[in-house]
């Protein structure tokens, strides 16, 4: 049995923490990864920063870059679509959560630096097998209606998320707390209709401010999942009181909803009695500027708003030239992949997939389609910013190889293939595929682009044999692979099915030690890259812009807003 380790306060420390410290000392782990993993294992962010400072001999708190004193007061106007905001558990757009995030809060918070910190939970502990997670809730937190925040609220939220009747996507996020059951019904073909329900005892109230989660399988990213945008904690009587946050905005957050008109604007006013540090802004106003991103920049340029939700890479030149405007860039694991379904002709032939892959010059596509802002892709969907990323040999464009593979596959005179492009994350997708079309030509591959509106693309994204699908940022590489490439999972759009890959991914997902996990990831990434189901031109950076009056703001990789630290000069 492992020895119990305790910190100065007598709190139990995860047995892996000393090992982490050792790795940081030896330089096997960088500071950022140390902070991330240590906080994941229940060490408070302050303590983790302290440990890192001690080990690396750096000051614990970095000196402020600008010596300006934050000012209280003012109204921040932000250009973003104002969407309906009925039920946080059912949010399907980040924009909805951005307004709500100022009213209702989360158990944990992942900052722009990719580090997850305590929030409504003041700390957490994970069992060694990562199957039991205990969350200590913050005491003294009051709801805006005067009630105390306690474990009942958290239990209510988990129970609600994991009830299929709620219709929340969280049921997939917390799959380790859900079991499949036979509903007793039969479908048209006579097969049993399977349903889902929360595993009995998955959420356990220990005392008024402690909740324990009992999982069916090991999960490393529990705290990070609890900042995923549909996991905001609503009041325990949310449903009884109408189940509509926009009509009955009860929350623990620092702001109260003063006005909410879909497609028009949302007004948030700072409220008294907030448990945390008093935020600087009196008022936050979200102004709906429609769907045309050119209009957003125009509104910023004419000072109608102080910040905009995002803008496209092709507007970068213009944004950088606007006087009084600051461009914020965030490095992300956002991408798009040209994925081929390995059970549909002609992509059922691995040689054809590899021939297409051999035509791709990733670095060039990054330059042509995304102004070089980001990183070249490597066809395995693990980003260099993911902690467990393993560096593989650089891929080279190889027409001789492509031609030989095509000839071997029975297409010596070339082949025509069609890709669906929906520009769901911007026009850069079409630019990338147009450039790729030219790269394919010398090998005799005629890549036809079938361009469609983004809404139409989302209807076929998991059905089309060959399509270009955008994927959002996730903090860990294994999270994406488990969602999109494991055999039989709902989002496996390439119908990828490789037992060797599944096995390697299983092994990697169960390892807490990043260096050990990275060794396993080398295999995982190599298998996926070699199977060539997902060609990935690039990892893209994302951009937002604010007026130079806005201080204390940094872009979150997934555009999550939280303006508690923001102030106006």
């Amino acid at each position: 049995m492992k020895k119990e380790i305790k910190d100065e306060n007598g709190k139990r420390v995860h047995p892996y923490v000393p090992e982490l410290c050792e790795q940081l000392r030896k330089g096997e782990l960088d500071r950022r990864e140390f902070l991330r993993t240590a906080t994941l294992l229940g060490v408070s962010a302050g303590a983790a920063y302290g440990m890192a400072g001690k080990i690396l001999g750096e000051p614990m708190v970095k000196e402020a870059a600008a010596a300006e004193d934050p000012k209280m007061g003012g109204t921040l106007r932000w250009g973003m679509q104002v969407q309906e905001m009925t039920d946080p558990a059912k949010f399907d757009w980040t924009e909805k959560s951005n307004v709500a995030r100022h009213i209702v809060e989360y158990l944990c918070r992942t900052g722009s630096d990719n580090i997850t910190r305590p929030y409504l939970a003041e700390g957490w502990e994970a069992s060694d097998d990562l199957k039991t997670w205990t969350f200590k809730l913050r005491k003294g937190v009051k709801w805006s209606n005067g009630d105390d925040f306690n474990a009942d609220d958290v239990v209510f939220n988990f129970t609600r998320w994991l009830d299929p009747k709620t219709g929340s996507s969280n049921i997939g996020l917390f799959a380790s707390m859900v079991e499949e059951i036979d509903t007793g019904k039969k479908d048209d073909k006579g097969n049993a209709v399977m349903g889902k329900r929360m595993t009995a005892g998955a959420v356990e109230k220990i005392d008024s401010h402690t909740v324990r989660l009992n999982l069916n399988s090991a999960v490393l990213s529990m705290p990070e999942n609890l900042y995923n945008y549909p996991t905001a904690i609503v009041h325990r009587r949310f449903e009884a009181e109408g189940g509509d946050l926009s009509k009955n905005p009860v929350g623990t957050g620092a702001y109260a909803l003063a006005e909410h008109r879909v497609g028009d604007k949302a007004v948030l006013k700072r409220r008294d009695g907030y448990w945390g540090k008093k935020p600087f802004l009196d008022e936050i106003v979200y102004v709906d500027l429609g769907e045309d991103r050119a209009a957003w920049l125009a509104a910023l340029a004419s000072k109608q708003v102080d910040g905009i939700y995002q803008f496209d890479v092709n507007q970068l030149d213009m944004a950088e030239r606007l006087p009084g405007v600051v461009v914020h860039t965030a490095t992300t694991a956002q991408t798009a992949i040209a994925r081929m379904q390995m059970d549909k002709a002609p992509f059922d032939d691995k040689r054809i997939r590899q021939a297409v892959q051999a035509c791709m010059d990733h670095e060039k596509l990054l330059q042509l389609a995304y102004r070089g802002k980001g990183a070249p892709g490597e066809d395995h969907h693990v980003s260099p910013i993911h902690p467990e990323y393993a560096k593989l040999p650089v891929q080279k464009q190889d027409y001789a190889k492509a031609k030989k593979l095509l000839a071997d596959a029975g297409h010596p005179n070339g082949i025509q293939i069609t890709i669906d492009v929906g520009n769901t994350s911007g026009k850069w997708e079409l630019d990338a595929m147009q450039a790729f079309r030219e790269q394919c030509k010398p090998a005799g591959i005629d890549l036809v682009l079938n361009v469609m509106p983004s809404s139409q693309y989302w209807e076929v994204w998991d059905k089309t044999p060959f399509g270009f699908t955008s994927w959002t940022h996730r903090p860990l590489g294994v999270m994406v692979l488990n969602l999109g490439y494991r055999s039989g999972v709902p989002w496996n759009e390439s119908h990828y099915n490789n037992p060797a890959f599944d096995k390697a991914l299983d092994e990697a997902s169960a390892i807490l030690d990043v260096n050990e996990r990275r060794k396993k990831m080398e295999t995982v990434q190599s298998i996926l890259q070699d199977d060539a189901v997902a060609l990935q031109p690039l990892w893209r950076a994302v951009f937002t812009a604010t007026s130079d009056k806005v201080k204390g703001y940094s872009t979150h990789p997934t555009f999550y807003h939280q303006f508690n630290e923001v102030w106006l000069a």
Binding site: G263, D288, A294
Partner: protein
């Protein structure tokens, strides 16, 4: 005249019924996809069935169509999926906003183009005519999606005179109306001017004008008393058609300037697959189209004495 009116009205109703049937077929024939759009992609089969049952979607097609049509006539368009409120609550204010934009545009376009058209048509081939004609052809050939960024680049980014968007977030603002109206005027006035000019030039060639000039009437009297009334018949129809054009033509302008109008609403409804909103918007657009057409026809017969119905 009465028979003519009844016939026109009948055609109008028939057109709308046909369009409503097409709309219904396109959007509501697949009840499964209706339920997914309303309840969201994560809803369960069971939830969808309950919703379909509760909303009468398991009835035969024709019964559903007639009850839908009945609701529509009584002003019950259903609830918007995107806004989560009855469609009417969003639709009417948006339509009024587009009305304001359209009115502002027309207030400039009508006087401007009539004056320019008459001036140009009075003396065909004169320098004034050449100048106005070329100018109006040039502005009309620039589509809104090109003139909007151009004007925006000049007045917003370069001169910094006008606001870049017209969302009217803090109440109605006239200055925010300038750019969208300017784009619409620029595109539209040339067309109406050309029509007026052609009509005026044609009238000026007629015998009765020649007679009036020859019998020694002052030129001013010839124009105002004899030429204008006849020359304005064609522009009247064209202007009525512009109202219809405005309703769809504003989509680009409203989208570009984030103006909360009907055009932007229709576009956003299509993008977010807000089917009940699409249905209501489409029916409103069709209604405006056939209604302006009918008014134009009726007005035309009134203005032009050569068209008379016994």
């Amino acid at each position: 005249m009465l028979i003519f009116m009844v016939r026109r009205f009948g055609t109008m109703v028939l057109t709308m019924v046909v369009v409503s049937l097409l709309l219904f077929l396109l959007l509501e024939i697949n009840i499964g996809s209706v339920a997914i759009k309303v309840l969201g992609p994560y809803s369960s089969e069971e939830q969808r069935n309950i919703w379909l049952e509760a909303n009468g979607y398991f009835e035969p097609f024709y019964i559903r169509y007639f009850s839908w049509l009945g609701n529509f006539i009584t002003g019950d368009f259903g609830d918007s999926i995107r806004f989560k409120v009855p469609v009417g609550e969003i639709l009417w204010p948006r339509l009024a906003n587009t009305g304001i934009l359209g009115l502002a545009t027309m207030l400039v376009v009508i006087p401007l183009s009539l004056v320019l058209g008459v001036l140009a048509g009075m003396k065909e081939g004169s320098n004034l005519d050449r100048g106005i004609s070329v100018g109006s052809i040039v502005t009309t050939s620039i589509p809104e999606f090109a003139s909007a960024p151009l004007l925006s680049a000049i007045f917003v980014f370069y001169l910094d005179w006008l606001p870049g968007t017209s969302s009217m977030a803090s109440g109605f603002s006239l200055v925010q109306l300038v750019l969208p109206a300017m784009v619409l005027v620029l595109y539209d006035f040339g067309y109406v001017t050309r029509m007026t000019r052609a009509s005026m030039a044609e009238v000026m060639m007629t015998h009765y004008i020649r007679t009036a000039v020859l019998k020694g009437l002052p030129y001013k009297t010839v124009i105002t008393r004899h030429a204008l009334r006849n020359a304005l018949i064609a522009p009247f129809t064209v202007i009525m058609l512009q109202i219809n054009w405005l309703l769809s033509g504003v989509i680009v302008v409203e989208f570009f300037f984030a103006y909360k109008g009907f055009g932007a609403l229709l576009l956003e409804a299509s993008l977010t697959k807000d089917i009940f909103m699409i249905e209501a918007c489409a029916m409103v657009a069709v209604f405006v189209a056939v209604a302006t057409q009918t008014i134009a026809d009726v007005g035309y017969t009134y203005l032009n004495p050569r068209i008379r119905f016994a």
